[in-house]
């Protein structure tokens, strides 16, 4: 019994170190989304681009889509921008939310850098974003046909992320009924 008490510290150490080692693989600053598996919260946003129809949550149902939250002040958004433009050209439904800035700023940025969004809405006070659990830009939600969130990417969609995660997921969602 006494022997056991003396071995306990080593055993505990092994457990703790294992936990630390595994814990190192995670990024502690990334929050998991609360929306995975749930439908998008309802929102109806005014237009970003002049003369546009704006973006509502209902409009996103019907086919798998990417919902990308961006802002003109966001550097990493520019990094994923070419990828989004390519996706639009390939026929993927990409929708955008211009987060926490006046629509005119977002429109100017899109005019300057290219516009990958089939649908886009302006969220000047950021409420729609907060309802989505957004904490910064860029963030991208992958939606299925029924408008449910299946995945959230925090940060820019790099080519690796696209190849490894999002592209296969989209293919699976297309195949779903």
């Amino acid at each position: 019994m006494r022997r056991l008490a003396f071995i306990a510290p080593v055993a505990l150490l092994a457990l703790v170190l294992a936990g630390f080692g595994l814990g190192l693989r995670r990024d502690p600053s990334i929050l998991p989304s609360m929306l995975i598996g749930k439908p998008l919260p309802a929102f109806a946003l005014p237009a970003v681009r002049p003369g546009d129809a704006g973006l509502s949550s209902q409009a996103l149902a019907g086919r798998p889509a990417l919902l990308n939250v961006f802002a003109s002040t966001c550097g990493p958004c520019l990094i994923e921008h070419p990828l989004l433009l390519r996706l639009k050209a390939e026929g993927v439904m990409v929708a955008g939310i211009d987060w926490k800035e006046p629509g005119a700023q977002g429109a100017a940025w899109l005019a300057q850098n290219g516009d990958p969004y089939v649908l886009a809405g302006n969220d000047p006070d950021g409420r729609a974003g907060i309802d989505l659990g957004v904490s910064g830009t860029p963030e991208t939600f992958v939606l299925d046909r029924r408008g449910r969130v299946r995945y959230r990417q925090v940060g820019a969609i790099t080519p690796e992320v696209w190849r490894a995660t999002i592209q296969p997921l989209l293919a699976r969602l297309e195949a779903e009924s």
């Binding site: 929050l31 907060i130 659990g133 904490s135 940060g155 820019a156």
Partner: protein
């Protein structure tokens, strides 16, 4: 690649916390006091270890405003917190919830204290026992040793 939150975090880190601005405050002092105390229990999710009451980050400002709206609309403290938990998860609470996943966290201290207390008590018991009583065999051996010692004088 980190994005906007890092910049916000830098600003939040650099500036004064308890970052409520006068225009955010509610008019009713009781409601405002509630809002302040709840804010101190809510984490700023884009900062490094600050509450939304302390942080100057834009998102913290938004969450403070939303919190005050919920309180002014009549939500209880728990309902207001739940509103934010629905959007950001339990991570937004600085006081961890009491659920099966956190039983070890909340009950651990008591358990460790109990275990430790028992060990200390056992240790004391062991160390307050006097020398063992002599058995009759010991007594006889002592007597014979004493006798042989006297013989050698």
């Amino acid at each position: 690649m980190r994005r906007l939150p890092l910049l916000a975090a830098l600003l939040a880190l650099a500036g004064p916390a308890r970052a409520v601005t006068p225009d955010e405050q509610l008019k009713d002092p009781k409601l405002e006091a509630r809002a302040r105390s709840i804010s101190q229990e809510l984490r700023c999710v884009v900062c490094q270890n600050q509450s939304i009451d302390d942080s100057e980050a834009p998102l913290a400002h938004d969450l403070r405003v939303i919190l005050r709206e919920r309180i002014a609309a009549g939500d209880s403290d728990d309902q207001a917190k739940a509103y934010l938990v629905r959007r950001y998860g339990h991570f937004v609470l600085l006081k961890p919830p009491f659920e099966p996943a956190t039983w070890a966290l909340w009950l651990g201290p008591l358990l460790i204290l109990g275990l430790g207390g028992v060990s200390v008590a056992m240790y004391w018991r062991e160390h307050s026992k006097g020398p063992a009583e002599m058995t009759p065999g010991d007594e006889a051996e002592l007597a014979s040793l004493m006798a042989s010692a006297e013989d050698h004088d």
